[in-house]
């Protein structure tokens, strides 16, 4: 399946483009997507461990499957955050998954 990955901020600047179109096997996960991104754009290698991935506008863990047609994005750390990604801060909310 084809997956379009949107890029923002430093990820976009580093890759030199605003989106990537990748071909993944069916039933791929976010972890598989990370691997495919590194293969496709090695320049992102130093950044990728610090980038979150969103699937359909929700932060997604590595085990999450990617359905065909999903909207996927690379999310660099947000300006007010306090360092390397803090994925779970408020467990009662849906803000971080």
């Amino acid at each position: 399946m084809q997956v379009t990955v949107r890029l923002f901020a430093l990820a976009k600047q580093t890759a030199g483009r605003a989106e990537l179109i990748l071909t993944l096997p069916e039933h791929s996960t976010v972890a598989d997507l990370r691997h495919a991104i590194l293969q496709s754009v090695p320049e992102l290698t130093p950044l990728l461990p610090n980038l979150l991935i969103s699937v359909d506008s929700e932060y997604a863990g590595d085990a999450q499957p990617i359905e065909p047609g999903a909207e996927v994005a690379l999310i660099p750390p947000v300006s007010g955050g306090s360092g390397p990604v803090r994925p779970i801060v408020f467990r009662t909310t849906r803000l971080f998954r």
Partner: protein, 150 residues
Amino acid sequence: MIEITEGPIDHNALTERVRSHQAGAVCSFLGTVREMTGDRRTASLDYEAYPAMALKKLEELEAEARQRWPILEVALVHRVGHLDLGEISVVVAVSCPHRHQAFDACRWLIDTLKEVVPIWKKEVWADGREEWVHPGLTTPASDHPRDTPS
């Protein structure tokens, strides 16, 4: 009330919007473009959003805050694009029956907004270099930022 806008933010109008007879307290926070960061001088800032996700996260923030505090009205507005020194990048306005609730809700909303809402800022330094601000990521400022597609 949730908005991402490219134009200037009217913070007075937002504060008025959240006022009500049930409120004993209104707290408004303005984020503004600061000139000095340590000894480095900022010329301007460029903000970029992932709009669909940013709006969704702002709505979730409002819903979560309403569960935590007896909020009467709330406005969350973030500006994107090019901002000059002193301009307002973000406004959080909240009204509650009592002041400690309004202070606490406003503080939580701006702090959490800046951690979870996918909006990024790029420093345009006075020396002409440009640099995305990503806590935890250290990269040299780019000398050729104009190569980046928008």
